[in-house]
């Protein structure tokens, strides 16, 4: 079976969310959990960062998708001086996700369902729980302050 590339998997993760991905931190930790805890074949390398495992390659891939017009970033105001950046697929991104899903179903039949189930569980967890699970799965802790 062919190995899906990181961009396909990342589109599948973002597309599998019922709503938008709530913040870059959440996306980072979810992908980390999927890689180390669920054996989703992501190639992104993770290292210790201020708030647990972090992948610069994942940041680069997300930026590539934003630049390509496939993922959009939206601002959610949390309070008067604080906001969060959420991520979702654009209409073009959704169309690409459909073709990614079809390709994955042929090459890795169980992967799409596994991803959808895992993302659904992770989406319902709080950020501290997701961070804690990412640290546990990967064995990568936060860098000291």
């Amino acid at each position: 079976l062919s190995q899906p590339n990181d961009i396909s998997l990342l589109i599948a993760v973002i597309g599998s969310h019922a709503s938008r991905v709530k913040g870059r931190t959440r996306l980072q930790k979810e992908v980390c959990i999927l890689k180390y805890g669920e054996n989703v074949p992501f190639g992104f390398g993770f290292e210790s960062h201020h708030y647990g495992p972090y992948s610069a390659q994942l940041t680069g891939a997300l930026d590539t998708l934003i630049a390509a017009g496939l993922v959009e970033q939206s601002i959610v105001e949390l309070s008067f001086d604080k906001w969060r950046y959420d991520y979702g697929l654009t209409e073009k991104g959704k169309r690409l996700f459909e073709s990614v899903r079809e390709a994955l179903e042929k090459s890795n039949p169980n992967l799409v369902d596994k991803l959808a189930d895992s993302v659904k569980k992770l989406e319902d967890m709080s950020i501290p729980s997701v961070v804690s699970l990412a640290k546990e799965c990967s064995g990568i802790q936060s860098t000291p302050d």
């Binding site: 589109i11 201020h50 630049a67 073009k92 950020i127 501290p128 961070v131």
Partner: protein, 206 residues
Amino acid sequence: VIWKGMYDLVYHSEKSRIAEKMLEKALLLSKDDAAIKGAFDMPQYLELNDEKLLSQLEKVTHPDVKHLVAIEDTKRLYEKLPKEKELQEPDFHMTTEFLDALAKDADELSDNLSCRLNDSLKLEAYTLICDIVTSKAPEEIPIDDKDEDGAPIQLSSRSKVVASIKPASVLRIYVKPDCTKAFKMDDLEHKLKELVEGPFDFVTTK
């Protein structure tokens, strides 16, 4: 914001970017030359500097290399085609393979595109040089504060100016002097679209 302005000003400056790509292609064409290979072996590598490298490249007999390293002669500098294109929908419908290669190594992808574009237009090697210039959003910049979950607060969540800096991937094409009429612009645009959107097999060497 200063970082972004300085980065674009210095690293994306048109002429220095063209010169950098010409030097890169000269090195790629000379990679089997004994003197060039030797320059990257220890201990010669420790003494290597730009002038030594240029002087070694000037000795390479390959005619295209001679042309590419004549950087000081401004008339030999490649010309940028006026139309530069953002690699984004709806102008380009990129495959996940292409996007993956773009995210992993834009320089290698640019070289891959250059080689295939010249081949498909039946032009000599590096008559056209493709250059994908990626402009990043600022990476995570934590400020000295944490939110209620204990997560470091990022500068981009306090500054809408910083947050407004968006990533972009722009495709520029440089053409060898005196070769601007060696191809039709319509053919070039058609082939380029085919290459960006078509089947793609890319193996990065990094």
